[in-house]
Each structure stands twice: as structure tokens, then as C-alpha cells.
Symmetry: C2
Subunit: 337 residues, 2 copies
DNA sequence: CATGGCTGCTTACACGTGCAAGCGTTACAC
DNA sequence: GTGTAACGCTTGCACGTGTAAGCAGCCATG
């Protein structure tokens, strides 16, 4: 980060006051429409004109320093390539937070270990932190609270002590898919796992869910197929699938499912006769392949709803942390299973 | 935005100073490892221990108020559903900016008209603004500069006066695709336009590019097919395509292309014999359909490169705004054209 | 022993803002 | 004519930080 001085300093409210021939307080009263401050109409106009002429813009840092609160909601997390579903969700959430008067700051992947991420977030004195990565510790939550953060939300599979929990029941995705395959009479199950390690936090729990379903049905072990989302890797996974004699595969999402389906077909394997496939996300594209892809449809809580939840939690920081399920699942059976 | 007072105020450097039995300046010297400030080793340890005990975290707003600069890079724009290509790009850019010592703030869709967006951005006193929506005006750029923003970047088809230009040559995407279809002997061209009005800023220029190619080849008018990314809409577009007797269609991107291709095939139209298709983005999924989808492959500048560019522009705000092409195109001919 | 420099720390100000309290003037009621 | 209230504006402090300048004490040098 470079630190050369600016060419010219931006106008402050003092400059506006000077130009309008009034005190700085008057400027503040006028520009903020403060209830208590009574200012005559012609003075108001002089102040507004002066502000416009100078191109005055208030200084958010100074304002929130004085006010003691920032109106920043920190969205911490990798903003990973987690598909259109979550992209749309963030988009919605961000718009809704804006409507509630908050500024959302995307913090990106968390630096460091232990408390470091929480410490870095706390520097911004956000009103709330929404953590979407599995890096939040109870100690981190405590640190945030002690530094004035009014609400901390964790968005993950399991709750974090002290934080409001937004549960994304990843295992249930696997369980729904696994139970479906088992109910259709499949017995040798496999699960496609993305090779990208950043997706492990999502794929691991889903795999566990399939295993749980298999265990309760009393079938054999569930195999894993690693896929790095290239055609070559797809062919390898398809070959391995045939070797292992799998007859039902749950794929991490529809994109991976489509790749595996094509690779299996290229190998002469009949889908769904020999191998049944289930994806996740219900992408439109999954309906374009033949056979049409079966999938686990997922609906997230609306951004507006979550924004309201966050606003309430900020309003009452003393309320005990709640738990909210973010995800609604439904199995959509098409032709691939 | 709710504004109840916090339960307890966070510790400040004054609290740390009191606990360590030193002055506040000493605390600052120790915690920032300031070169000029000379502090004895045992005092350093006392200060560090006190800071740890209180859970002290510096106040970013106060710090940047005092410093006069923020290290914030504002990424303004809708963060629209613009596909995996741009998602990955933002992700990279954000990480690279972090590495350069900046905090990236995603501002989301811009509020208001005229100068309002620029005014809202300026409140944060960002070191740089990167605007990815066509809402930046020369007056807005000027306002930002006058309020201390050291570098303004516009990311769009055409440059904006006063701002560094990151050109995304959308028309060229259409031109490349159109020229290809024309070279293959197609004469009745069509272009698929997403119904989502938020994508008009991208689809419009691409359409113009196709029209330019058609004009220079001296063919008839280029038709447009509106598509809202549902199967029903795909069927309608395919029917219209046949009615119009089109023999070559450029689709906004691969997803729309895949939908149209499937819809045409369901209608019994032979792709590419009767209608040739070209998409854009070179998605892996486009290779899974049969025939494999021809596409305009796009490569963006690396996030690291852009971050370096931004850093340099911040370091020297007086340098005249430069122009940089963000996009590299290449036509990938497969089987659908 | 006086001078000067170094060490280790403190005092004091500035950054830009919001708001409580104060203060002079006018208007009105008694 | 005097008390009182409302109006219209200003003075002054606080928010939490970084850093220039200053100030004792100490040692080395002359």
C-alpha cells in the first residue's frame, strides 16, 4: 500500500461553514436535518449552496468515530466459487442490508490462524459479522463482542458457541440423495468429491450424510471419486466408477454430475440402468442433458429475511443467540436415477 | 439500522496505557513498532501483556481519520450474475489487493442517479474506486478526486473522462462470433439476448458487434431473440428462430447457447446443419452436449496484475489516466458451427 | 565540571464529525 | 414595563488514534 500525500485536501464541514458564514454546528444541523437544531430557511439555503459549491462529502470514518457505531456488516468468507445459488443469495443479502441502512463489506478469505481473523475483522468495528468460513472460534466470537460487535453470525454446518447460528445442513443433502438411491435399490454407492480443497468444507459433510444413509440401510462402504472438473478427470472418474462396480453415485453438484454423466456415456455405461446419478442445485442445464439429471433442489432463506434477522440481532445484542435453518431441500427425480 | 448503545465500551489504547502504567504514546509506539519511538524492552512486554489482557483491538476508523488515508479499495457495481469467469476474477483481485495491503469493500448496486453513487462512495474516502457499472460520469470522477480518492478506474466498454480505463471490449465478442458465422457461409444471423435487463449493459454491445460484422459483410438484418433462461422461453426462441429462417445464431453466453441448442433439437432442427450456434465463455459444460458447442473463449487480466496497476495509480495520482484492455478473445470452433 | 548526545518516555495537538449546553435577540403575555 | 418563552445560532467537548516536539536522566567526551 503506497502512502504518498494527496495533492489537495478534500473540503470539510469547516470549509462549508466558512464559505456560508456560519458555524460548523449549523452546517451539521442543516446537512443532517437534525431535529433539535433549529435553523432559519435562508441560512439552510446558504449552507446547502456552499456545500454544493465545494463538493462537500461527509467523512464516514470521522462520523462513525464520533457516533461510536459504524453501520458496517462484515461478510467474512472466501466468497468461494460456490455456484449461482449462493451468488444470488449474497446479492440479495447485500441489497437488503443496504435497504436496512447498512454497508456490507466483503472481507474475503481470512488471514492467519486462531484469533487473527476475528481480530482483523474487529478493527473495522462492524455492527455485525457474518462468517461463512469454518474459522470462527468461541474465543474469536468473544473477542468480537468485547470490541463492540453487536451480533455475530456463523454460517456453517454446526453452531459456534456465542454466535447466532445459520445452519446449512450439508449432511442432509447427502442423506437425501443417498436415501433416494438406496430406495431405488442401489447398493454400491459412490460420491463425487471436488478436488479443489476449498470445497472440502462443503463436500465432506455431504459425503458424511451419504455414509449415514448407507449405514442405516446396512449396505457396504461408500466409495469416493475425486474430480477436478476437467474432461480428463471426468473420464478417469468414470473408469473408476465402472471398476468399482458402483450402481449409484451422488455428485457434489449438478456441474460435476453432468461431467460424470457424459464421461460414463462416452465409456458406454448406461445411465441410469447401470449407474444412477443424483446431483445437487437443480441447475437448468441439468435438464438439457439426456437423460435429464435427478438432483437435490436447494432453497436458501431469502436475503431480505436474513437481513431482518441481522438487524434485530444488532438491535438487541443481549438476546441469546438463536438458531435458524438456512436451507430447504427437496429431491427432484428426473431420468438419471 | 438500529442504534441502541452498546452494553460495554471496547478497550482503547488509553486503557492499555493505564493498565501498563505508561503513556498512550508509548502504547502506540510499541503496538505499531514505530521506528522513531524508542522504548525499553521490559516496557514493551508490559504493554503487550496489557493489550492482550484487555483484548485490545485498534480502531480502524480512528486510525485512518488520523492518518488521512484509508487503504480501502471500493469495488462498485452490481456484482451481477455474470458467470464464473468474473466471479473468479473478483476473487483473485480481492486476494491480490489484500496482499498489497488494501481492504476491498464491495459496494453492491449503486443507489440513486447522477452524482449520487459517486457521492456515496466518496464518503468512505477510499484510496481507489473501481466501478464496474455504467453509472460513472465525468462529474462523478471529479467529485471523487476532489474528495481525496487517488485513483478511479472504470471497467466498461468505453472510457470515462478522468478515470483510468479498463476496457472490456464487448462489441468485439459479437464481432468475433459474427465474423465466424459469416465466414462459414451463414447469412441469416440472429443474436440471443437475455431478458434480464441487468444484463443489457453486456448484451447490447455484443449485439452491436454482430451487427457491425454483418454490415461489413453486406448481409441482411440481424434478428434478436429474447430469452429469460427457462425451458419454456427456450422453446419459444427456438420456434422463432425457425420461423425467421435463421441459419446462424450467436448466444449471449454458453448457458443460453446450451438452452437454445437443446430447444432447437427438441424441435427437430439440425444443429449445425440447419442452424449454427456460437456461445461465449468456453464453459466446460458446453463440451458435454452433442454437438459440442462452439464458443468465444475469454481470458481476463489476472487479478494480481490489476491489483498492481491499482497500487501504482494510487501511488501516483497525478499520472494521466491510462487505458488497459482487460479481455483477450479467441474463437473456439467445435461442432455446433 | 560543563557540554553534548543518546535513551526512554511524556505532553500536546491534529484528524472531521455530532451534539449538549449556552447565549443573544425578538415576540408575546401579563 | 417586566418576565418568559421561543427562535437562531455559536461555543466547546468528545470520539480513538499517530506523531512531532519536548524533557528528564545518563554516559562519554572535552
Amino acid at each position: 500500500m503506497s502512502n504518498r500525500p494527496a495533492a489537495t485536501t478534500p473540503p470539510t464541514s469547516a470549509d462549508v461553514a466558512r464559505l456560508a458564514g456560519v458555524s460548523r454546528a449549523t452546517v451539521s444541523f442543516v446537512l443532517n436535518d437534525t431535529a433539535g437544531g433549529r435553523v432559519g430557511e435562508q441560512t439552510r439555503q446558504r449552507v446547502r449552496a456552499a456545500a454544493a459549491e465545494l463538493g462537500y462529502v461527509p467523512h464516514a470514518a470521522a462520523r462513525s468515530l464520533r457516533a461510536g457505531r459504524t453501520g458496517v456488516v462484515l461478510l467474512a468468507g472466501s466468497a468461494a466459487p460456490i455456484g449461482p445459488l449462493f451468488s444470488e443469495f449474497y446479492r440479495e443479502l447485500q441489497g437488503a442490508l443496504r435497504r436496512h441502512g447498512y454497508t456490507s463489506v466483503l472481507y474475503g478469505p481470512s488471514p492467519g490462524e486462531g484469533d487473527e481473523p476475528a481480530r482483523a475483522w474487529a478493527e473495522l468495528r462492524p455492527a455485525a459479522v457474518l462468517c461463512m468460513e469454518p474459522v470462527l472460534t468461541p474465543a474469536g466470537v468473544d473477542l468480537l463482542h468485547r470490541s463492540g460487535t453487536r451480533a455475530v453470525f456463523s454460517m456453517s454446518t454446526a453452531p459456534v458457541a456465542g454466535a447466532h447460528a445459520l445452519i446449512i445442513d450439508q449432511p442432509e443433502v447427502g442423506t437425501v440423495a443417498g436415501a433416494h438411491l438406496l430406495a431405488a435399490g442401489r447398493r454400491r454407492l459412490g460420491v463425487v468429491i471436488p478436488a479443489d480443497p476449498e470445497l472440502d468444507q462443503f463436500s465432506g459433510p455431504r459425503l458424511a450424510g451419504v455414509r449415514a444413509a448407507a449405514a442405516s440401510a446396512g449396505t457396504g462402504p461408500v466409495e469416493t471419486l475425486s474430480l477436478d472438473y476437467t474432461e480428463a478427470s471426468g473420464a478417469a472418474a468414470a473408469a473408476r466408477c465402472r471398476e468399482l462396480g458402483l450402481d449409484g453415485v451422488f455428485c457434489y453438484n449438478d456441474e460435476y454430475a453432468m461431467l460424470l454423466q457424459r464421461s460414463l456415456q462416452d465409456l458406454g455405461v448406461d445411465v441410469p440402468r447401470q449407474v444412477a446419478l443424483v446431483g445437487a442445485d437443480d441447475l437448468l442445464l441439468g435438464r438439457l442433458l439426456r437423460p435429464r439429471l435427478s438432483t437435490v433442489g436447494m432453497t436458501l432463506l431469502s436475503g431480505e429475511t436474513l437481513a431482518t434477522l441481522i438487524d434485530q440481532a444488532i438491535a438487541d445484542p443481549t438476546a441469546p443467540p438463536g438458531t435458524q435453518n438456512l436451507l430447504t431441500l427437496r429431491l427432484i427425480t428426473r431420468d438419471s436415477s
